[in-house]
Amino acid sequence: MPTLETTFAGIPCINPFWLASAPPTNCGEQVMRAFDAGWGGAVWKTIGEPITNVSSRYSSIDWSGQRMMGLNNIELISDRPIEVNLREISEVKRRYPKHVVIASLMVESNQRAWHDIVERAEDAGADGLELNFGCPHGMSERGMGSAVGQVPEYCSQISEWVKERARTPVIVKMTPNISDIRMPARAAKRGGADALSAINTINSITGIDLDTLEPRPNVDGKSSHGGYCGPAVKPIALNMVQQIMSDRESVLPLSGIGGIGSWQDAAEFILLGAGTVQVCTAVMHYGYRIVEDMSDGLVAWMQKKGFETLDDFRGLTLSRVTDWKHLNLNYKIVARIHEQLCIGCELCYTACWDGAHQCIHLDRALPSPNTSRTPAMVTAESLSRISMTPIAKLDLDGAGETGPQRTPLSRIPRVDEHECVGCNLCSLVCPVPDCITMERVDNEPPETWDERMSAGMFKAGLPGHTKL
């Protein structure tokens, strides 16, 4: 039976699932309920001098009937007194000694303030410290949060101040609102950080109310850019995690954050090197209970894959993310439509014609292949056809069709494999699993752009696309 136990920057963890510093970790009562539900750790809602929040704090993006594909917030750090937060941390640690409690910290940028909060948090019993250099709204206007994270020198300086006092591991939380995340990551590492967490939320305006023309979330007719998170940001987070973990000057134990809500998401972050993962939006949407399937599903997957521990697969995919110039230009795949699975929606057809390379055709029922019949011709033919309600007694010739039937051949698209560039689009839009597969058809030895350049086949600078 695989185990989810792991060690992160020296901190023993019963599982890699931590709650991110956010509303789900606002107080001790919440954190204890979360631990009861199965969370292995919690990063406390950022502690600092109490702030005043606005009312109306979140807004979200829905997609195709699904709620909260992306969530945006303009809430600041904890609005509760420092001593209350610290007292509750002590209480939680006393009752849940095996669970991880990380104190997220944010104070003004002076050495003394940082020394003071570090000591108090550790005295309260925190297993580690997370420095919030990521909060993109409000706090940054006061010289904190992402205002620190965006300036490598500040990252480095404050990390140093913290390390002067800290006895527990120091995790620096990175902002994604920067052109190259490796710069602040390197600075934190130079400053002595023991670990990193990435990513914090992304600057965003989620939307505008089209009745009132007011942006969301609406605070008395106005809004402010907020921090974007949720499923929509996962690809961005994965990319930034990969950038950090592949950079020798940045790499440290990393707690992955950004759109994680399932065991698959967690596995992907770990495959790119994350030691633990942090979750917020999915819990805000569905509650602490989601951790049960995250654990259960991850263990089942590990068992299927033959992994006993998280270390067995941590970072395994890192070596497979490379620069474009190292990709095999001779790798060739083409789409194959499995007729017996096709339901005849023709979404692959319209996607290929309008969004790709015009190499899927509706000509199976025609006497011979026809690659010049356009989508407009197809629809015009359908609309010019006279259809009638099938009525048995009037349709003795059997002209009427009734009800469900197998997909007619005329509706099953055909891929012109000679023209197919293997872009994947058709397989992405197909609603039926495994109906369109991408099949490998190349038979030439691998060759990369880099190799072609080195062999002097092209002038440096512009990538060509034809083989010599």
Binding site: G65, I343, Y349, P375, V378, M388, T389, E401
Partner: protein, 447 residues
């Protein structure tokens, strides 16, 4: 402009009938419609659209529901089918759009197209907006349309959108034909048919009700208009040709359905026998149950497999409590002052498929009301004399344009197709309306 464009206000209002004939398929609420609309895959060259005789762009109107563009959704429907509201209620969608849905081959749950279409149309009606079309610039041409059913209504709408005047002549007090008088009230209430017609009146369609067009009247219409559209539907229901058929307590299904829909009857006796195996017979049988009959039989010459009623209609009738007597034929009606019983003979099919009576197997079914639903004759006698070419009583047309053998005459609906669905009549009328406008334009250009 018209004698009246407030037919809706003339609908009889009976709370009792409304209760007894409540919606068979209750409408979607907004949230349900939104969820369902998002299930639609948005197929290219969608099979639902191809299956619809009027070729409503189904994925497009559904996407507009999901995007919140309800006005655009209604317009998409109406652009293809001016009677989109009634069709959403009466269409046998199992064998049309929903039967063609690719979801049958995916998760086995077709998109609820009819309910989504009704939602979009109900929202338009609720908004009080007129049809989202303006009459075309007046061409000075005019067309008379004989019969006020779905075919003529659809034809008239196309003509108005093209600037051609359209005057509808109908024998009944209210327009709409079978849409108004012939559809089971739990599918399409009479008032809803009229609501839809009021919108057409706003588009400038003129209605002349209580006018029966005979050969003489037809000659006048032909002289006064640039073209004539025949949308006369079918004629009377066949008679059994047996003794005592004229006794009180024997009626035909169409008159029966029209009577309860218009409020002329509000209850029926205890025991009802409906003769026939088609959709109209089922409507009459179900109506009998809902009007208070406790013992309703449908009597059909053959077995359930040969019934011309749709399978879903048969299932529905069983749920309503209708009982079926298969392989039976009425050979006599008993009664002195009124019907008391119907005498039935058992039939069996011979090897060549013909039916023969089994001797000595007759029995009497005590009934208080006999409703005949054994098919309709044609109603084209007034066209005899070579006005237009007929075949087995049906008007022959060019399917693409609706034009008859007489270029000034066009036709569509049941009088041309032998009796299909409302949506088929709408499609015929639409093609004819476009065909007439094109023909008139050609005449003008050549003049």
């Amino acid at each position: 402009m018209s004698e009246s464009n407030h037919f809706f206000a003339q609908a009889p209002h009976s709370p009792d009938t409304a209760t007894r004939f409540a919606d068979l398929h209750p409408p979607f609420e907004r949230s349900a419609a939104f969820v369902e609309s998002n299930r639609c895959l948005y197929c290219f060259d969608a099979p639902c659209t191809a299956a619809c005789p009027t070729h409503i762009d189904v994925p497009r109107f559904i996407k507009k529901i999901s995007s919140g563009n309800l006005q655009g959704s209604a317009k998409t429907i109406l652009d293809a089918n001016i009677l989109g509201a009634s069709c959403s209620r009466v269409c046998p969608v199992d064998v049309l759009c929903e039967g063609a849905c690719v979801m049958h081959r995916y998760n086995k749950q077709p998109i609820a197209i009819a309910k989504l279409q009704r939602f979009a149309m109900d929202e338009l009606h609720r908004s009080g907006a007129p049809l989202p079309f303006l009459p075309g610039r007046d061409t000075g041409k005019s067309v008379s349309l004989v019969g006020g059913g779905p075919a003529s209504l659809a034809c008239a709408a196309e003509l108005r959108r093209r600037g051609v005047r359209a005057e509808i002549y109908d024998a009944r007090p209210l327009p709409g034909g079978l849409n108004t008088y012939g559809v089971a009230e739990y599918k399409l209430p009479l008032a809803e048919s009229l609501r839809e017609i009021d919108l057409l009146a706003q588009l400038g369609v003129v209605f002349h009700c209580n006018v029966t067009v005979d050969a003489e009247m037809l000659a006048k219409l032909e002289a006064a208009h640039d073209a004539v559209f025949l949308g006369v539907g079918l004629g009377a229901i066949h008679q059994l040709g047996i003794a005592s058929e004229s006794l009180p307590g024997v009626c035909n299904a169409l008159d029966y359905i029209a009577a309860y829909k218009s409020g002329a009857i509000t209850s029926v006796p205890r025991r009802v026998a409906v003769i026939g195996g088609g959709n109209t017979a089922i409507d009459a049988a179900n109506a009998s149950v809902r009007l208070g009959a406790v013992d309703v039989h449908m009597i059909y010459r053959r077995g359930p497999e040969q019934m011309s009623a749709f399978a879903f209609e048969y299932e529905h009738a069983k749920l309503e409590g209708v009982k079926f007597l298969w392989h039976m034929q009425p050979i006599g009606i008993r009664g002195t002052d009124a019907v008391e019983a119907v005498e039935l003979a058992r039939l069996e099919a011979t090897s060549d498929g013909s039916l023969v009576m089994r001797m000595g197997m007759n029995f009497e079914l005590p009934v208080d009301l006999v409703v005949l639903a054994i098919g309709q004759s044609t109603h084209t006698d007034f066209l005899k004399g070579g006005k237009v070419k007929l075949e087995r009583g049906r008007v022959l047309i060019d399917r693409a344009t609706g034009q008859t053998s007489n270029p000034k005459y066009f036709a569509g609906g049941d009088c041309t197709n032998g009796g299909r669905e409302v949506v088929d009549a709408v499609a015929d009328g639409k093609r004819a309306g476009i065909g007439i406008a094109a023909w008139l334009e050609g005449q003008y250009a050549n003049a």
